[in-house]
């Protein structure tokens, strides 16, 4: 979930735009002044003006089901707007907000929409999900560690005779320990691989379970699969936990 939210926030930040919605009746001269003010700002990349007609046409194209409502209205409800793309998506929010406030001083600007606020909100949510994930993950890592450690302890006890005979026929400590450590690593790696498989199945099943009732929100809650680096990290992490569990168990129960 946190992985997905962070991805979504990154995507939104990449496409960072500020929309200035103008009053219905703005004289062309005043609109040009606003455009000039916007273009002079060092933060601004590209500026694109959208007329009420263009806005109406885009709405009809994006939401064909709602096209009829537009036709029933006698007038075009959309205002003219100016779409401003920022030069650098990494600009500090405060400087962008200051630029917006400057432009908003014009009485012709009715409303402003800045999608970074959304990106920031989603990122915060992502951080929260990450913190919860880390907490739960930590508990799971500990649980795996103790389970592996105990399984190896049981194996050591079950193979007590074999270990004793191996020692008596001249086996080195490493020779005796390696199979147990290998077992720990294998359990860790297998556990992570199974969890990756479960995540994959969940990702496939979750959208089917949700259906289309959530609309656009589905983009946010719909899981994305882990990247290759994340998946490898998980498997390596699992192996390390297994190795650690094995080493701890051997240190306690296989004193040779």
């Amino acid at each position: 979930m946190s992985n997905n939210l962070r991805f979504r926030a990154r995507e939104l930040s990449k496409d960072l735009t500020v929309m200035f919605y103008l009053q219905k009746t703005v004289p062309a001269g005043e609109r040009d002044l606003i455009l000039d003010q916007i273009r002079r700002s060092p933060l601004v990349g590209t500026v694109h003006t959208i007329s009420p007609e263009e806005a109406s046409a885009k709405f009809a194209e994006d939401f064909p089901d709602l096209k009829a409502i537009l036709l029933n209205l006698n007038a075009n409800p959309f205002p003219a707007s100016i779409e401003v793309s920022l030069k650098d998506p990494g600009l500090p929010t405060a400087s962008v907000l200051q630029f917006i406030a400057e432009v908003k001083k014009n009485s012709a600007v009715e409303d402003v929409q800045f999608n970074r606020e959304w990106a920031d909100k989603i990122r915060s949510l992502g951080r929260l999900a990450e913190a919860v994930g880390l907490f739960l993950g930590g508990i799971l890592v500990l649980a795996s560690f103790f389970i592996i450690s105990n399984v190896i302890k049981l194996n050591v006890l079950a193979r007590k005779n074999e270990i004793e005979i191996l020692r008596l026929v001249g086996a080195t400590n490493t020779f005796i320990r390696i199979p147990f450590l290998f077992e720990g690593v294998l359990m860790g790696v297998a556990g992570s691989a199974i969890s990756l498989l479960v995540v994959l199945i969940l990702i496939k099943l979750f959208p089917l379970y949700l259906g289309s009732s959530l609309g656009a929100l589905q983009e946010i809650v719909g899981f994305r699969y882990l990247t290759l680096a994340q998946a490898l990290g998980l498997v390596l992490g699992g192996g390390s936990v297994g190795l650690l569990g094995g080493l701890t168990s051997l240190a306690r129960f296989l004193r040779i």
């Binding site: 005779n161 074999e162 191996l166 020692r167 008596l168 026929v169 001249g170 080195t172 020779f175």
Partner: protein, 221 residues
């Protein structure tokens, strides 16, 4: 050469399992340890392969004081030895082949050599037809022979056997002792704990007699 100097071993007070045992077994010697049950025969063998540590005394094998060797290097003491345990110490969930080849596996012997040497050792104790059986499928005497095969499979420099023929019929016991003699002729030092006076008489060799942990030595033959 195996040398024991003033070796004492006490498991529980006030009894001494070994009491001031001093002995020397030359390289290539064929030696019997006799004595009644509880006289310390098994303890004597166990101190030689360092399964138990003496309470006092020194044990020198091949010029090295084995009591000074750290636990992590104990394999250096045991690898040149073959040991036949009184209770066999077989792995009942593993086949005869695995039980015998375990002594080769720890040495990192290649699989092909391992198979060949294991088969030869089993043929020496006349148990090669049962190579793929489990010990639970074998008689008591056959299990004992598996233990003997495991002890001789890596051509040890020292062979220690604790009652190796205790459960064998006289003919087979004679065969096993002949085998030990053959191994001894190839230069292996052999120390056998046994009650069987008849076999001792027949095969001859040095006899070390233990009585209540004390050693009384004499040579026969």
């Amino acid at each position: 050469m195996i040398e024991l100097y003033h070796v004492w071993k006490q498991y529980q007070k006030p009894h001494w399992a070994l009491s001031d045992v001093t002995l020397s077994v030359r390289k290539g010697e064929f030696c019997f340890v006799t004595g009644p049950s509880g006289s310390g025969k098994t303890t004597l063998l166990k101190t030689i392969f360092r399964e138990v540590l003496p309470t006092e005394g020194q044990i020198i094998i091949g010029g090295k004081n084995i009591l000074r060797i750290p636990d992590s290097k104990i394999y250096t003491v045991r690898r040149p030895m073959g040991i036949v345990f009184q209770d066999f110490r077989l792995l009942f969930h593993k086949r005869v082949f695995d039980n015998v080849s375990i002594a080769l596996r720890v040495l990192g012997t290649p699989p092909r050599d391992m198979k060949r040497k294991t088969f030869i050792a089993l043929r020496m104790v006349n148990l090669h037809p049962k190579i793929w059986d489990y010990p639970s499928q074998l008689s008591y005497g056959e299990q004992q022979r598996v233990a003997i095969a495991r002890a001789i499979v890596n051509n040890p420099r020292i062979l220690l056997a604790d009652e190796p023929t205790g459960n064998l019929d006289p003919d087979l016991a004679h065969e096993i002792f002949s085998l030990f003699r053959e191994i001894n002729k190839q230069g292996t030092t052999v120390i056998i704990c046994t009650h069987d006076k008849e076999l001792i008489r027949r095969f001859g060799g040095r006899v070390l007699h233990l009585q209540e942990g004390k050693l009384h030595g004499k040579d026969i033959g």
